[in-house]
Subunit: 251 residues, 2 copies
Amino acid sequence: MTESSRYALHRPELIGSLVAGDLKIANAFQGSARRYRAHDLLIEGDCDHPYVYRFVEGWACRVRALPDGRDQCILIFMPSDLFAVKSMFVERHPDDVRTLSDCLIERLHYRDLHKLYREDTDVANRCIWQVIEEERRLHNWVVGLGQGSADERVAMLLLDFHARLRGAGVIPEEALKFLMPLTQQQLADFLGLTAIHVNRVLRVLREREIVAIREGEVRILDFERLRQLALPLLDLHERKLAARTVRMVHD
Amino acid sequence: MTESSRYALHRPELIGSLVAGDLKIANAFQGSARRYRAHDLLIEGDCDHPYVYRFVEGWACRVRALPDGRDQCILIFMPSDLFAVKSMFVERHPDDVRTLSDCLIERLHYRDLHKLYREDTDVANRCIWQVIEEERRLHNWVVGLGQGSADERVAMLLLDFHARLRGAGVIPEEALKFLMPLTQQQLADFLGLTAIHVNRVLRVLREREIVAIREGEVRILDFERLRQLALPLLDLHERKLAARTVRMVHD
DNA sequence: CGCGAGTTTGAGGTCGCTCAACAATGGTGG
DNA sequence: CCACCATTGTTGAGCGACCTCAAACTCGCG
């Protein structure tokens, strides 16, 4: 994903500022990296939490534990995401954030980032962008959970992972496989399904030779059919992109 | 809801700024009010859209129309909400925004608000707060859609409406009834259910004398049992508030 | 080798959906 | 004023997607 497509929806007059802010933020976080093990608790829900994070390596998620044992995974973070940007404004987050794999993550005290945020419009814009981007993903996922069947949700999720990993430069543009450090139970918690049902959906996708998942590696065997599956759930912008690609292929 | 509980989660050093920003924004929007009829299209998805809105009267919602006819309502707006704050940063929104009832809504060109936003930290903070608050509601609703049964979702939604209307001063603090200008179909589109099933859930709530809905008016007959129903889906902050109230009642 | 975590499969149950019909309501035009 | 119609709400019968419970299998690891 190029810078221009990453910020595709943004007001053009802000894009320069976003790119600049990205660099400045990378600089500000420089040197604060820490290693975390898989399943570490980064943020405990409803506790004072003064840090903002910048993801370098690995995956993490925001997850709500219901009092009766159910879990809902709300957002997944991967490299190049900032998260807990909201720490600059709120004292506590209502949910936990946990690593899904071993991670390398930078962090900064919110006061330090907020100082930069006040002094430098580029930094501020880049922070806002992160929040807006998160909200966009949440909108999409509300649609997925509210209207999508199990297969549609799985297809949508895999496409989202794929696009984000390409956008972050974790895998090459043309790659059709990637590592996904989630158990089927964790997938299920995100998808609002049971692990057993996720397993069955994945089996069907494998049998139909659309996607094969083995030992944490996702291999997309038929990108076009995968996108067909998810199509009804995609937002207008993504749907237009999809239409354009299909036209290109058919030309 | 008092100012302090409205901004309960926020960093205390920012609360003064939020209150001030609220006033300044109210001033800036002053005089721009327009009337809309129920079911008007305020924002058409994926079209250039240069306005930010401030809700004065009535309800509206952000809704995604899937290509096969399904609809998912993503967020509901009511008095005192700002919306499309993101217009300051993005050119187009991927979804439609429609009025649910007759409305009185103020609006401002994004450039005018963005000027204020840059010049006045209070205005900026108030805008950020709106985005963060929306994201909080989206988190909660992802949990509702992902893990909630039909009754739990309905209970959660009604409690949310009730709390927000009280917070906005539309109904008095102690009120147990309010007007809800949604058809069962629209409720269903938000809840990710069919209208038929919503109807059955509402019937059960009526028979159990928990909530009665007639002609657009919601009457909460047993607040405590309604909250019990929704309890598993509430976030930690709300759950703590609920626990405190119960303790107060039992003391 | 035995253990635990994760995956896979089977059998049966249930929540919410589909399809169909009918009742209440309110607006419209004759 | 009433007949008509569209919209919304209500109810029944049957079905299917997804869940529950239970068990076996794989694989890395101590």
